[in-house]
Every structure is written in C-alpha cells, then in structure tokens.
C-alpha cells in the first residue's frame, strides 16, 4: 500500500502508478476522502517498496504481507513435526523437555547432570561446548573436546544432544557430534551462519534475538528453510526489557502468536529469561500452559560451582520438582511431557 501525501497532485499519483507498472507489478488506485492510497499487487521486494517510497508525493509505504513463505502457516497449515534419534519428537502432542548444564565443564560434571535429567525421563541432553560470552575474559567453553564429552555421555544414556554452534566454519564439526544444532540469540541475524545451517542434515533450534520482532525471527528461519533445511524449531528465550531485576522478560505472548503465524515448533527457554533459578519453574510451567512444544532447561549438579550461568541453573532436586509440576500442567492442557 502506498499512502500519498494529503496534497499530492494527480500527476504525482500517475507517476507512482507508472513506476509500479514498470516494476512488473499491478496498481489499484483508491481515492479516499483525505488522501489517495495505492494498492500494489505482484511479487514486490522490500527494495522495490523502498524505491517507491521515495517518489514525489508519497507519504509512506505500508507493507501488508509477510516475507517468509516457507515458515508461514498460510502455506503449510499443519504443524511441522521434527523426529529426533531415540524416538523423541518436537512439534507433536507431547511437550519435549531438553535439559542439561549451560556449559560442558568436564566429563564428571556432565555425567552427573545427564543422569539427573535422564532419571526424570528427559530424552534430549543440552550442554554448551562453544560459549558466546559478553566479555573476552570469561570462560569460552571446551570447544571440540566438549563436543566429544557430550556425545559420549549422551550415548551411554541413550540421549539425543542439542548444542550451540557459533560460526559457519564449525557447522560440520558440531553436526558430527550433535543431533540438534542451536543458534543463539546473538547470532539470530548472523546470516552466514544461518546459510551454513541450511546446508546440514540436522534440525536447527533457532533462538530469538533479544529484541527481535517475530517477523525478523521468522525471516531468519526462512534463511534456513530457503536453503533446503526444513527442520527448524524456534526458541523464545526472553526479550530485553526495562526491568533490572531480571536478565530478560520472557515474552509469553509470543507463544500463541507464533502458533498462529507459523507451523514450526515453538520451544521456550525459561532459564535465560529469568536469570535466577528461583524463577525458572514458574516460567517453565507458564510456557507449557501457553502451548509451547518444548522446554530448554539448565540443570547443573552443583550450580554454585558452575563455570558459567550458575545463577540460573536448577539443581537436580529442583528440576525433579519442576518436572513433576510440568507433567500436571501439560495434562491440564491436554498434552504430556516427553
């Protein structure tokens, strides 16, 4: 839609119409009481619209349609379901819990965490080998060694593995050891990384940027889908807000909105949003009640010894209590926890 200025002349309207047609699009003119509005139809790009916005007499351009055909529910009405090794599913009726420590610190720490989560029926182990850190002086993860530990511990317990990938050049390495590749919030618009992940035969868990709109997030997913990888799940992890008491404010509203806009599975990470372990269970249960298809939860055998993000990790006892409550809430909304 092109909104003309209040005092736009007839000649200006005609020039815009001519330009629309020159771009291979069709134009429909609506003379309102206060101003003229032009409807544009066809396959216009954002760059086309930008150019039209500059013509004389144009006040502004309003985009009506979204730009993520593959991610959109319009084009794929049924839920997309992702099958994981070991029989777990993401996007089906059961709510999939993925749990484990923020960072892999060593074999015994991971072993202990993995046993704790497996004992609660969890089928997917999370753990970071490559860690994105705000400060260059903070612990950056064990890298390739961490990946090997992850795979080995998970194999012993029959678990699938989800772990973060930070750079295009690591995608192949991470895919060799993990079942699901996670793209972190800070990399949501790292387009080279998205493109590299579109070329790999692994599901991608794409976290939301800390102040991204849902449309930008779906367009980021579209990079992966358009490159040929249709196994993409979205992970809401909180948005930056003005509240200094928490790291991020979980945007619970995004869960039902996403379920309407897209057929991709929607996961919630209650640990990063809260930033403090006491708040994690309440937020996790809220996510299940709101319709999330999965949870990503930080569990550490001994949070106060953690090398990273200890403050937001549940210990095994707290995690067990949360799982028990989550099972009841899932049942209340007609689902199960898996």
């Amino acid at each position: 839609m092109i909104v003309m200025e209040a005092h736009a002349t007839k000649a200006q309207v005609q020039a815009v119409v001519a330009r629309i047609r020159a771009l291979g699009l069709s134009a429909q003119v609506n003379h309102g009481t206060e101003r003229t509005v032009l409807g544009v139809a066809g396959h216009e790009t954002e760059d086309d619209l930008d150019a039209l916005g500059l013509l004389e007499g144009v006040e502004r351009v309003v985009r009506i349609l979204h730009d993520y055909p593959l991610a959109s529910r319009d084009f794929h009405p049924e839920n997309r379901v992702i099958d994981l090794p070991g029989g777990a599913q993401l996007g089906g009726n059961a709510v999939l819990v993925m749990a484990g420590p923020c960072a892999v610190e060593g074999r015994s720490q991971l072993q202990e965490a993995a046993e704790a989560v497996a004992s609660q029926g969890v089928k997917v182990l999370r753990g970071g080998a490559f860690k994105p850190r705000t400060s260059p002086y903070a612990f950056q993860g064990l890298g390739g060694d961490g990946l090997k530990i992850l795979r080995s511990v998970a194999d012993d317990l029959g678990l699938a593995v989800v772990t973060e990938v930070l750079a295009p050049e690591d995608v192949e390495l991470v895919a060799r050891h993990a079942d699901v590749l996670q793209i972190g919030a800070r990399n949501m618009q790292n387009y080279r990384l998205l493109q590299a992940c579109s070329q790999v035969d692994r599901p991608i868990l794409l976290k939301r940027g800390m102040s991204s709109t849902l449309e930008e997030w779906l367009q980021a997913a579209e990079y992966i889908l358009a490159g040929g990888n249709l196994q993409v799940a979205l992970c809401e992890r909180g948005i930056r807000s003005f509240e200094p008491m928490v790291r991020f404010s979980l945007d619970i509203t995004s869960v039902p909105v996403l379920k309407r806009l897209t057929s991709l599975p929607v996961v919630v990470d209650p640990s990063h949003a809260a930033g403090r372990y006491e708040y994690v269970p309440a937020i996790g249960l809220a996510a299940v009640a709101a319709g999330a298809d999965g949870l990503l939860v930080e569990v550490h055998p001994n949070p106060s010894e953690a090398l990273s993000d200890g403050a937001q990790s549940l210990n095994p006892q707290a995690f067990a209590r949360m799982m028990e409550a989550a099972r009841k809430v899932a049942e209340a909304v007609g689902r199960q926890i898996s």
Copy 2:
C-alpha cells in the same frame, strides 16, 4: 554505595565522607585495588544520594536498598489477603477471576455479560464507566450512569464490582458504587490519584505502567500504603515491546519476581496484553501456572458490537472454555479458581 573515580584523591574521599556525616549518615571506606568505594548507612533519601553524586571525584552512586518498606516482603513476610464482599478473597490460595466487559455500554449489554460470567462461578464483575482513551474523539464511557448500572446489575447477581477511577475528584463517587477501585496503567504515576486512593476504604487494584520497572510500580503502591490504605493488589497487564503483532507483551516473569519482593496480591490481565481474543486464553492459563493470585478478563456478549476494545474481548462461549481449562491448570499447581 559511592564509587569514587579511578584517580580520585585522598582529599576528595575525605570531603565525601565529611558530607555523608553532615547528612546524619555513617560512612565506611573500602579501598579496592582499582578504586575506593564508600558504603553509606542510615536513612538516606534519593535526594541525598543525588547530592553526593555531584561531589568532586565521585564517579557514581549505586543504590542498594529499595525504597518501598510497606510493600516489601522483608517487612511483611506473610501474603496480604484482601477480603471482598460476598466472600471472595484476593491473595489467598484460590485464584480470583474478575470478568466483564471493557466498558459499560448500557444495562442490557452489562446484564448479559454479568450473567455469562456469573454462570461460570465468577464473583467479581469488571466494567469501565470512566474510560481513558488515547484519542479525544473515541467513546469515553458512560461515567456516573455507568457506575449506577454496574452496581445495580452486580447487586442483582450478588457480585462484587471492580471499576476504574481516573481522577482524584472522582474517587469518592466511584467508591460509593464499587467494591474495588482500579488505577489504570496510564495513571500508575498519577501521584495525586494515588494519594486520593490512599484515603478511601476500598481495595485498590493498581495496574503496571506500560514500561515501568517493578520498583517504580512498588513505589507507586507505597504511595497508597503510606497514606493508610493497606488493601492494594498489583495487576500486570503487559509491557510495551518492539513486537507490532500484539498491543503489549505480557511480562510473565514479573509474577514470580513480585511474589518474592512483595506480599501484595498479584493479578494478571491477559486481555489488554494480547490485544486479540485468540491469544487471551493461552496467556491467562500461563498466568495461573506462573502463580498469579487473580485474573482480570474482558468478556462481552457480542464482541464485534463492542463500543471499545471489542477485539480483545472473549465471547461467553470462549470464556467458558477458558474457565474450564483454568480450573485444571490451577489444580495442577495446587490451587483452585474462585
């Protein structure tokens, strides 16, 4: 805490200490490896701290303690419970649902809405007589006539009434007809209105400003408490976010954080956050799962005919379905709906 600059001189430190003592406060000096930090103890005001921040050699002042003693859980560890006419309670184990139309449009519309919510066991009727509207050209509510209709319809059905008050000069009038006075988001820092509400013998439901911090919100509650009215409940109704798909993003994280900071009851309004009726049930259930003590829900007998906020109102059938699910979720977290 007063943080001195890296290159602050001894004389500057001494001058700050002298000033702290002149204000009747005590000072403790900590010489760190990189800079000196002064701890201040006593009953300092924000204005005192501002003044200290200006002294030479001071880098900044960090406030450690909160400034809402009456609202704080530190000083009142047990939950504050508010008793309403008809036996309903806010802040007890049961989750209190308050429901009804956005605006009172006339007797028959309110009657129909009230019957619909009462038939679901709701004991508190909501409805706006004075409406704050962004545009001066929009419907502004029925005013005093609306209050009378509210009271009369509620009395017929044995319901309590919650309704908004917009200005100090209306407090007495609204208190005559309503059981709970609501202060809207735009008025959260209308200090004269807060003061007027501190003088009335009615519980106050204080909504959060659309981008207020929790501390500012608790300080606003403190105005009412400090004036002598200890019956205050907080209502989270969504924060402004960058997401254009929704009116507001419900800050679900605030629920567990508030339950830790304050003993005041915490209510959630899922209708204003979502801005669209389809999203209301998911957000309402999430609030119950996260530990909210109450819900404030818009229900209209015929939303597409509503004079205001129809887009976010549930019709009676959708409300009945939401209540059924809410009862199950409440039970899952060890509570009931009342």
Copy 3:
C-alpha cells in the same frame, strides 16, 4: 485497510463490506494475488476499526491515517507561534531558552538562579512548585508557596514563568501565577488533566511520556487543542532505553520527524534525559542543531545542595558556557537564541 486472511471466502468478504457500509463508510475491494484487501473511506473511529477486525475471515486492520487533525501539519501547514509576556516567542525563528532550578526551594535559591539565567539573556524562568516524585518519601515541592515565590522573583527580573501542574484541581491556581503550564512526562496521558488544561488561557508545554510514540503524544496534544486551547508546545525529554548509564536517551530523531508531522513548536529538555550535568551541554547543542524551537534547562546556583535533581543541574558558570556555544550553533543553522 482491512487485510483478509489468505483463505477467506467470498461470503466473508461480502459480509465485511456490508458491515463497513452499515457504519456509514465506503469500501473498495482490492483482489491481490495472495489475499484480498479492503480500503475503507469516511470518518471511521478506532472503535469501528476494532469491531471490523473481529469479523470472520479478517486477518488484521491497518490504520493508514492519523487521528490528530488539529495537531497535524496537513491541516495547518504554517508553524504555530506562541507569544509570551515580555516579548518572547516559541515557534518562531529564534530558539527560546527556558531555564532555572528543578524545584523552587526558597526565595534566595530561586533569586540566585533567576539572576544567573537572566544575565545570560534568558526570558523564561522555569522552576517546580509541585513535584511528581517516584517515592512518597521524597521532597514534594513547596506547592502554592513555591508558585508565589516564582511569580515574585520573575516579576522583579521581568521574566515569564513556566511551571508544572500535576492535577486538574490545581490548574486554575497554577494559571494564576504562571505564564506557561507544563504537563510532565508521567501525566502525558492523564486525560482529565489534559482536558482541564484545554480550558485555560495559558500556553501548555506538554512533555512526552517516557515510552510514548509520537502519535500518542500528538493525540494527547489533540485533547488540549480539541478543548479549545490552541497554544500547545511539545517537549521531548528523553525516552526510556536499555542503557543504565543514563536516566533516559534523548530521542533526537523525534525533532525532525515532529517538525514534519505537526506545526506545534518543539522544545527539548536536555537535563532530564542526561541525568548528569556533564552531558547536558552536548545534548542541548545537538537539539539546537537538529532544529528544536526551544530548550528547557535546569540551572541551580549550587547543584550539590539541591533538594531535587541536583545531579543534572548546571551551575551558573557551566550554563553560561553552554549558552555561548548554543548561540554559535544556532547561528550555524540560521537561527538565534532568545
């Protein structure tokens, strides 16, 4: 504009068209390649649009036109100029500086501040008698006594007075002593106060809410204009941002955008945004360079003794240096300082 869902039926489209016509509006149907879009013309209200958004098959409603006819430049292309006692003008070619202490603390403090600003050629004295404070325990201003001091000191020096009004019941009193009434950021959407200010024969300086959009701000101004008071100036004072180092981030972009949207004068308050005196001059000069019609600056004879907001007040020497630089920058953009 009504955007229909991708799979909307013909009957749904016809039902929406019928409803539009029933509201006394006209409808134009645009069949796009992917979906149908309906243009609505006439004098529709926001409530009408809300109602249309609920009909079956409607995806969403996009508002094209603004809702502030009196504030808009479309309807009043020339700048509105406000004449003040003593010959000062707001909205003309000269940039009007209004300066003085945050709060009136007593006669000698105000006298000293007023002399300092008058000696720099300032013609409008600012000073708060009624202070909106976040905490109920902070200094709340001298009230009516403060107003009398303001008037008396200003009269001695031949200055005009701008001061804040907090509540409808104070409008008459404040108007008796002040030449310009200021509405603070927290009260931008205090509609009763706006209405009361629309009935008084004094220019109104309307500050922007701390996270208001420009449209909401202009709609707030519209309340005053629609009530019959056409002397309204807007004051940008910073928006809340994620940056903890400053109280607010001055939205310099709003200056040129407002100059395009509205004919009302645009003032900038660099003192509240910065929150620290060191940053005030840089922001004030930026405002002049960007095209602001006025500056509102806090000046205190002895900032470290101020009862409120001392941290952001300039002392007389710093203010004199800022004025000297402001005169040069104004000249660089073809204006003067008055």
Copy 4:
C-alpha cells in the same frame, strides 16, 4: 558488592566471606542498619560473581567496575587517534565524514557517488559489497566483485575505503581491498568475527547492536583490542525504540557518555537511524554538535533507483547542502570537517 538478604544469618555471611577468599579475592564486611553488604576486591570474573550470588542468604550481586580495561578511558586517558591512508584521521580534532552508497551496485553507480562525495572534500568512501539483509530474498550485494570496484574507484579519486565484513572467513579478503573494516549492528556480538578482526592490520569500525548497552558495546570492542588490534572506532547508528515512524532512534546521549567512558573515536551514522533521507541532515548536524568524531552518510547518485536502502540515501545535492551546514556547526563547536 554482595548484598545479603534482610534476614541473613551470621553463619551465612561467614560462609560467603570464606568463599570469596577461596576464590583468591578479598572481602570487606559492612553492617548496615538494614542489611549486610560485602565488598569484594581483586580480579573477580563475571562467573565468580554468578557463583557467589547463589550462596544462601545472598540477595544479589552488584557489579561496580567495568570489564573493558583496554577500551576504558581510565587506563588510556588520551584520545586514541586512527590514521588512515591519504592523511585522514579519526579521533583527532577534525570530524571525519565517510560517505557513499549503501551498496555497491556497479561501477558507474559507485563512480558517480564517489565523485559526488569527493567533490565535497570527503576522503573516505563507504559502500557495501557484502550486505546483511533481513530477508533471504533481498539483494545480498556483489561480494568480491563489489570489493574490486570499490578499490578501483577509490584509487582513481585518492580515497580510502570503508566496507562491511560479514563473516570470519571473509576478513582477509576484505582487508585486502579496504582500509577500514566495518562490523554491522547485527554482528556486534558475533564473537568469532570480532576475534578474526582482532588479527588483521586494519582499523575496525564497530557498529552498536540495535539494543545493546554501552557496556556490551565496549566489551565487544574489547574482544578486538584484547586480540591485539588497537585501532577500533565505535559507530552509533540508532537504537530500536517504540516509535514506528522511524527505523531507529538515534541515541545522541551516547556520544558524550562514550567520550567519558572510552578513548576510542566515536562515529555517528545518521542514515540508518532515520530511515528516511529528509531526517538525515538534522541528525547528522546534531551528532557534530554533540561531539562525534565522524559521520557515516549514505549518498546515492539516484536514490529512487537504489537496490538497497534508497529511502535513506541523500542525493548529491542534498549531501552538498548537509556538508555546508556541517562545516558551520563543526566550527561552532571548535572543530572542522575533514
């Protein structure tokens, strides 16, 4: 600073002190009237602080000191000045203007733009060869071919070149053709890219993330500095705000705050913030008045034909007018334009 809970026991305080010492840090205990606060001194990491925050009786941890020693002005009081080929300087007394088209579209377009900016005395040509685009379906830049065109056109006119680098694997290639490497807002926390840029002998222009804090930004710069590349300049390009009329709101306040915190040069990009060419000059002049060391401006020979971001590009005539005004404003604040 470790703030203990109001009801923390002596034993809890002692346990925290013991833990602080076990980390090799020193602790100082301050008993306030309401609670105990522990000062921690030494070289603690963020992870240490996280761990301390989990101990029993701890309410929260307040970080006093920043974590970017190399970027900080404390440790390097004088401005860091970056010398560019051709004699231009960034961070000296002159304000450096870098201008050119958003994207390199071909030789003739770039040639025309480069001549236009060179004729205004500009010494650094900007132009994008690798373009980060929100949609996978938008024009992504000419890549390596674009770099060659840039270099060749710049050499003909004796200009230096600044251009964006998107991925670690491109750093070497881009450094071969460009004099300054730009890291875009979306990549501000792409740590691998920062690390790669720390290894190259070229100045880096680091844009601010769209909702990053100044501290996060300085920590991102620290990644480059800590890797050994001390030639880093910061570029403010607007922060996401709630205002739908503009793409971003330029955070002018960040200019004086950064000049206090860091010795790195501070550049402002008025083109991306505004999102519309009409607003660019006002914002650019404001940046100069506020103390920016450089401007990054989009200039296109024919904006309405641009393949990307045409809406915000100045045409040569508008750019010439802006430069003329910028020279006057620079002079007003005691600087020149180079």
